[in-house]
């Protein structure tokens, strides 16, 4: 148990959880204040999921991943449970809004966006490092939020903001989830020389 607590602390999970709750509240309050119908638009849903996934991203790498790797831990299992827990937390927060007047749903869309974006950011963590892993999810989702596409190619390219029954969007999200999970579980966060510089906060 001590190992798990240390892991959670090293990944700054409490802070991330707090930030995620605050982020959900930040999205929910204006949505409640300004929208009239029960369900928020797909744009607002995609942006909220992006916000939560960005917060979850910060936990995918520790202050010193090179040092982490030297520990004899079942890293594969830790990483896959980490991703599953992160997805669970994001979905739990969105599920909580389903109980209120302003629902962040449909749930199918929330699952697709959360899984796809988490996969994309995990892929980024494994390939370009945790610090840069939010670049692509952010740019892609903003583009999709501003200009949702139509047709098979359009729906696939702007999968984040499509209706929940869109097949191309679901396929793209599934592929991203699978490749992202596989890359992150097998390789872990990318380590670079820059990671040796620890967070100033940690030094104290």
């Amino acid at each position: 148990m001590t190992g798990l607590i240390l892991y959670v602390r090293s990944r700054q999970v409490p802070a991330a959880l707090g930030a995620a709750v605050a982020g959900t509240a930040l999205a929910w309050l204006p949505a409640t204040a300004f929208s009239v119908k029960g369900e928020v638009s797909s744009t607002v849903l995609a942006l909220t999921v992006l916000l939560l996934v960005a917060v979850a991203t910060t936990t995918l790498g520790g202050p010193d991943d090179t040092l982490d790797r030297t520990a004899a831990r079942p890293w594969g299992w830790l990483r896959i449970s980490h991703l599953a827990t992160a997805l669970g937390c994001v979905l739990m927060l969105l599920l909580a809004t389903l109980l209120t007047g302003t629902r962040f749903g449909p749930f199918g869309c929330a699952v697709r966006d959360a899984a796809g974006l988490l996969g994309l950011t995990a892929l980024g963590t494994a390939t370009v490092g945790t610090a840069r892993s939010w670049f692509l999810p952010l740019g892609w989702t903003l583009g999709a939020a501003a200009f949702p596409g139509m047709g098979t190619a359009g729906e696939a390219l702007t999968w984040q903001t499509q209706a929940f029954d869109s097949r191309p969007a679901a396929v793209v999200a599934a592929v991203l989830t699978a490749t992202g999970t596989a890359a992150y579980v097998s390789r872990g966060p990318r380590t670079t020389a820059g990671d040796l510089v620890t967070e100033p906060v940690r030094c104290r």
């Binding site: 992006l50 939010w134 952010l138 939020a145």
Partner: protein
């Protein structure tokens, strides 16, 4: 100073950010070429609309730069250098501003070759629109720098971008007036409803004022040595918001300003019969003239001797004065800036002649007009990319009836339709009455 900025460019994330923003901007702009192929103003306005993506990315770039600085852990080291504080602040502000400025302009230049040989009308307002876009980009990146410095966390940059997007695109809709919505978001008020759309100078001024206020607030936030003074940034925001509200036109004044009367003015051929298109479509005159003149030749039995572009708009509602000697042409452009449906120009122009002026209201009969127009053209009225927009079996039936008649009789009926349509009379039975 040049040397310092050179060092700062290599040291900071500015170059990489500029590259990524330029790539993102080029992708969205090129993917939707049909929205701005009409001309320079359309390009400038569409790119401004895409600030919805570019501006949040610039905010993220600024916050990311501040986070990197925080991670590198050199603040204390730099603070130990015996130089005044502004000397440490100005280079990074200048470098990031330069980077996003270049990114915005590169995106614009990458799009320009596509319409360079078709677009001609370049109003001064287009330069103003681009300039306001540049101010908005600089304000975004400076705001990002400031927020990234106040909240040095990895998630700050993406979170700020999401909030920025919401403030730019979602929040302004809560404002009660179109003018105010546009004033407080540089990406708003840029949708093109016609090819003659523009951005009013006062609206641009209001947007520039607000963005300048945000930029100043960003600098203040970035430069304050102590978080306790962060509230000082509210002062420029308050002053800017007040000035913006005072400057921006609202209500009808705003709606009127969205149309450029110069772009709507007609430019005509020198020779007769005269063919005129709007200044916004001036480059299409050589393409349109032969088709329009051919259609005018077919109309020799009527009083029509000129063809003008139909420059009517929906918002604000305007329409050209109806004239007995003029046929109106509808001009739509494809994504290369040429006529979208070249073979549809003549049929729609002739159909317009046989339906009569807009003021006739419900008396206008499109089916009869279509049959008459296609009889003149000697083409069957069929639906397709260059024909009718949708199938009209009744028109085909009437057209076949006309074809079966002797030429002189058919021509007499077609002229009768024209005469009746001009006077707003019912034309329903003029083509199908029994042969005399």
């Amino acid at each position: 100073m040049n040397r310092i900025i050179g060092i700062e460019l290599r040291r900071s994330a500015a170059l990489g950010a500029a590259l990524l923003i330029a790539v993102a901007g080029t992708i969205v702009l090129q993917a939707t070429a049909g929205r701005w192929s009409m001309g320079w103003m359309a390009l400038a306005m569409t790119q401004r609309e895409y600030l919805a993506v570019l501006s949040p990315l610039a905010m993220a770039a600024g916050a990311w730069q501040s986070y990197r600085e925080h991670r590198a852990n050199v603040a204390e080291l730099l603070a130990a250098v015996p130089r005044p504080r502004p000397q440490r602040m100005v280079p990074i502000l200048a470098t990031t501003a330069l980077a996003v400025l270049v990114a915005y302009l590169v995106t614009l230049l990458a799009a320009a070759p596509r319409i360079a040989d078709t677009a001609r009308y370049l109003p001064p307002a287009a330069f103003v629109v681009v300039a306001v876009g540049l101010v908005a980009m600089i304000a975004s990146v400076w705001l990002g720098l400031a927020v990234g410095r106040l909240v040095p966390a990895l998630a700050t940059a993406p979170a700020l971008a999401v909030i920025g997007f919401a403030l730019l695109i979602l929040a302004p809709h809560a404002l009660p007036d179109g003018g105010l919505t546009a004033a407080f978001s540089p990406a708003m008020g840029m949708s093109m409803f016609s090819d003659y759309d523009t951005v009013d100078g006062q609206v641009s001024a209001a947007q520039a004022l607000w963005m300048a206020a945000v930029a100043v607030a960003g600098v203040v936030l970035f430069a304050v040595p102590n978080r306790k003074f962060a509230f000082a940034a509210l002062l420029p925001l308050a002053i800017g918001a007040t000035a913006t509200v005072l400057v921006v036109p609202t209500g009808d004044a705003y709606d009127q300003g969205t149309l450029d009367p110069v772009a709507q003015e007609l430019v005509c051929t020198d020779g007769t019969p005269r063919v005129c298109v709007s200044r916004a479509h001036e480059e299409l005159l050589p393409e349109v003239t032969p088709k329009a003149r051919h259609a005018l030749e077919l109309l020799t039995k009527t009083s029509i001797v000129e063809a003008h572009e139909d420059t009517s708009t929906v918002s604000p509602p305007t329409s050209p004065r109806s004239r007995a000697d003029t046929a109106l042409m509808t001009i739509t452009l494809d994504q290369h800036g040429h006529l979208a449906h070249p073979r549809r120009l003549e049929p729609t122009m002739l159909t317009g002649v046989f339906t009569g002026p807009l003021s006739c209201g419900d008396n206008r009969n499109f089916t009869v007009a279509t049959a008459a127009a296609y009889w003149l053209l000697d083409r069957e009225p069929a639906a397709g990319p260059d024909g009718l927009e949708f199938d009209d079996p009744d028109a085909v039936k009437l057209w076949k009836g006309l074809q079966a008649l002797p030429r002189a009789e058919a021509e007499a009926r077609v002229v009768a339709v024209y005469q009746a349509a001009r006077k707003c009379q019912d034309t329903t039975h003029l083509l199908s009455r029994g042969a005399r």
